[in-house]
Amino acid sequence: MAEFSWVSRSPLEHALAPGAHGARGVEAGVSLTEIRNFDLIQVMARRGKAAELARVANGRFGVATPNAPTVVQAQDATLIWSGPDQFFVLSKGGKHTMDTLAPALSGPASLSDQSHARALVRISGARARTMLAKLSSIDLHPSAFPIGAAAATSIDHTSVTLWRGGDRPDGQAVFNLLVFSTFAGSLWHTMLDAAAEYGVTIAHSEELA
């Protein structure tokens, strides 16, 4: 049998060029940062087991799981609503993987490892909301989309999970976007085009916000 050496790489490895993009001579209005090497597990309640899942997951994470389009911050994980009776567990450093979550949650829920199936992009900056407004039909005004709000929606005909994280130290809003790996490059270029007129700072990071 042939031997393979599998190395996980970012789906944006080729598209992402760190540095400045778009308008020059202005302070960049949009900051796009890809977050790499995260653990992402989709948890979906089995039929009729939603209440049991909520109870077990609450014991596991120490917080109530999201039952509306919101994110819930646990001590070492972010729980992101992804549909009725289902959520993502986003974490770093192998704290919440299939190996650790399945024994606890696989009774009331189906689990699926999405760590390498999604790209995660953090969008912030003074013009971040303006840029996203070109692409999304979601109302991102602070009164309609406050910190902790989440949405399963489509951008550029691509399904995404969008949520608002904690503000940056300078008070700017932070939007997080999970997109299918194979669509990440396409959506990345779309966002670059939308943001170019405001000036973009491009980076990648290993740190979850």
Partner: protein, 91 residues
């Protein structure tokens, strides 16, 4: 046209796809050929209130049952289709 998803809130039409008439009910196993033919092929072309299945594939991936007026596009009710959002419809 916008649809108020019971799980996601108001969303644009582009996030949804139309399946079809929600009225036909699959006949019993021993049903006559006419009944099966009716179920598979025959549809009413209603000018007014209809009951339809829509899929929120661009959002929470839930099937919805929607009452829509074909003359005005007014949507009078949106509810999860049976089996969607397991806990919420008690399927």
């Amino acid at each position: 046209m916008r649809i108020v998803c019971p799980f996601c809130g108001e969303r644009e039409l582009g996030e949804f796809t139309y399946l079809g008439d929600a009225k036909p009910v699959r006949p019993a196993a021993g049903a006559s050929e006419d009944e099966v033919f009716d179920y598979v092929y025959l549809r009413d072309n209603v000018a007014g209130e209809t009951s339809e299945y829509w899929y929120h594939g661009g959002g929470c991936r839930t099937w919805l049952k929607i009452a829509r007026n074909t003359l005005t596009h007014e949507i009078s009710s949106v509810e999860p289709a049976a089996g969607a959002g397991a806990a919420k419809v008690g399927a």
